[in-house]
């Protein structure tokens, strides 16, 4: 038992009393700087307990005299950010949609804000430049399935297409093949006629037969020349722009099983001012009407 203080005879420093195979550990004091840093940390902790939320007290906790809360800080920051943009956001909220583009300041602000929101929310389907993709329309051209005026675009963004929203844009193409409205040869003929609208039909006879079927089944929505009807979101078939593909196989598939793309209703996620900015941005992206 090392209860007596033993000093190392070479250095004069006392030992810890521990010995390993004849080696003894010196009991040097802690460096001064290290010790003061430790005391400073303890003092810091005490100050922290007073200023910030720290100690649990049963069902509650000490709130600290600064009243800090990360959520309260967030609300405050959001508020400050809103205030710093208030002159534009308030003006956009007040200005009717069709007059937004007439005001250079608001137009610039809307384009910048709209681009940011477009990149986060719309790009996954419509592509980084609004070029669209398989099943997602191109927004950078001047063809519009559901109308390309500012008001049309605004409504589409707000309520979506075939979305879970009472005012959503809705229409349903019949499943001509799957529900037995047309036979397979009839669908082939109709497809040939549809392709002939853009000069890609390879069977003039079939296209001729298809013209009759088209007139009976398709013109109500797609128009007598296949020019489409924006009110029901029926795309033009005569412009060479294909949402799902313009080869015969795909057109046959479309007629057989029908198509019905879905776009979410964004009024559930974004506020009205943001949707207005998005509408202006999308309108400007391609050829808004």
């Amino acid at each position: 038992m090392a209860t007596e203080v033993e000093k190392d005879h070479l250095s004069g420093v006392e030992t810890t009393g521990h010995e390993w195979d004849g080696l003894k550990e010196l009991n040097n004091p802690l460096p001064k700087w290290w010790l003061y840093v430790l005391y400073a940390c303890i003092a810091w902790a005490v100050v922290y307990w007073v200023l910030y939320p720290a100690w649990p007290l049963g069902t509650t906790y000490t709130k600290g005299i600064l009243g800090y809360s990360s959520r309260a800080t967030l609300f405050q920051k959001m508020d400050e950010a809103r205030q710093s943009q208030a002159q534009y956001l308030d003006a956009i909220a007040k200005t009717p949609l069709d007059q937004l583009r007439g005001n250079a300041e608001l137009l610039n602000f809307s384009l910048a804000g709209g681009r940011t929101m477009f990149n986060e929310n719309c790009v996954p389907c419509h592509g980084a430049g609004g070029q669209g993709g398989h099943g997602y329309p191109n927004l950078a051209d001047d063809k519009w399935m559901w109308g390309g005026t500012l008001a049309d675009i605004y409504q589409t963004i707000q309520h979506g297409i075939r979305a879970d929203d009472p005012d959503t844009r809705i229409s349903q193409m019949p499943r001509f093949g799957a529900d037995g409205v047309l036979t397979r040869p009839q669908i082939d003929d109709t497809a040939e006629f549809v392709l002939s609208l853009t000069g890609t039909s390879t069977d003039a006879e079939a296209a001729k037969r298809g013209a009759v079927l088209f007139a009976e089944n398709c013109v109500a929505c797609h128009g007598d020349k296949g020019q489409g009807t924006a009110e029901v979101g029926a795309p033009a078939l005569n412009d060479g722009i294909w949402l799902y593909g313009g080869d015969k196989k795909t057109v046959v598939e479309t007629i057989t099983y029908a198509r019905g793309g879905v776009m979410p209703a964004w009024s559930k996620r974004l506020d009205d001012t943001t949707i207005k900015q998005l509408a202006v941005y999308v309108h400007e992206l391609g050829g808004g009407k």
Binding site: P56, T60, M78, C125, H134, V262, R269
Partner: protein, 241 residues
């Protein structure tokens, strides 16, 4: 000196030392953990959060199995940049029925806490089959194999297990587990019971296949994420912890 004697005894008795080390570490742990159970504001009091529907639960299990949490967090932190990008910050209440929670700690892909309703079902299916087909710059692997049939004969057992862990599945939910799972995949069928037990559940033929696939379950799960709490009903002060 008596305390030195005591110290020597500890150093020379491995068992005693282990017991005392365990007690010391436990105090450190308990001081951090227990208050989270006792402090009333840890879990916010919000309406709408419910246990997962059976199909969503199957999707949750697939999410877990595929390790989605390795690249996707499910936690919108209370910072302006996150809130403006993803939506309202996540509440503890929103993940209180997750076992285990899916907060994650890595965002190779985006946060998914508010992904529900953000994209169409078709998009999710297309994206899971081949992510680069819709997002060319994505580094996400393909999950086309999820179009395999979903095994769900044991779904009621999953509900029962979670009930033991404190998830409020009632007898009605457990008895109807299999029927509810199938009902959520059949928009033309009777979904009244399902929607009464699990409000806001998204009913659809998610992957377009007649038979239930793992894809259906995963997309059903993704489409409800972050949609249960109606945040317009709460003032900021009510959500402070």
């Amino acid at each position: 000196m008596a305390h030195q004697d005591f110290h020597h005894r500890i150093e020379k008795n491995v068992l005693l030392m282990m017991v005392l080390v365990l007690i010391t570490i436990s105090i450190g742990g308990l001081v951090q953990i227990i208050p989270l159970f006792t402090i009333e504001t840890t879990i916010e009091k919000v309406a709408g959060v419910r246990p997962y529907s059976p199909l969503e639960l199957a999707g949750f299990n697939i999410y877990l199995r595929e390790g989605c949490y390795n690249c996707h967090s499910q936690q919108v932190r209370p910072f302006r940049d996150e809130v403006e990008r993803y939506g309202h910050f996540s509440l503890a209440a929103e993940s209180m029925y997750d076992h285990p929670f899916q907060w994650g700690s890595k965002r190779t892909g985006p946060d998914l806490a508010r992904v529900g309703g953000k994209y169409s079902n078709d998009w999710h299916v297309q994206h899971l089959i081949h992510p680069q087909a819709v997002v060319p710059e994505s580094v996400m692997p393909r999950y086309a194999f999820l179009l395999e049939p979903l095994k769900f004969d044991d779904v009621a057992e999953h509900l029962k297990t979670l009930k033991v862990l404190g998830v409020p599945y009632d007898d009605d939910m457990i008895a109807n587990a299999k029927a509810d799972l199938q009902a959520q995949h059949n928009p033309d069928g009777d979904t009244e019971g399902l929607l009464k037990r699990y409000p806001k559940a998204v009913v659809a033929k998610f992957s377009g296949h007649a038979d239930l696939t793992e894809m259906d379950a995963l997309v059903a799960y993704l489409q409800m994420l972050g949609t249960l709490v109606k945040f317009t009903d709460y003032k900021p002060a009510q959500l402070q912890q």
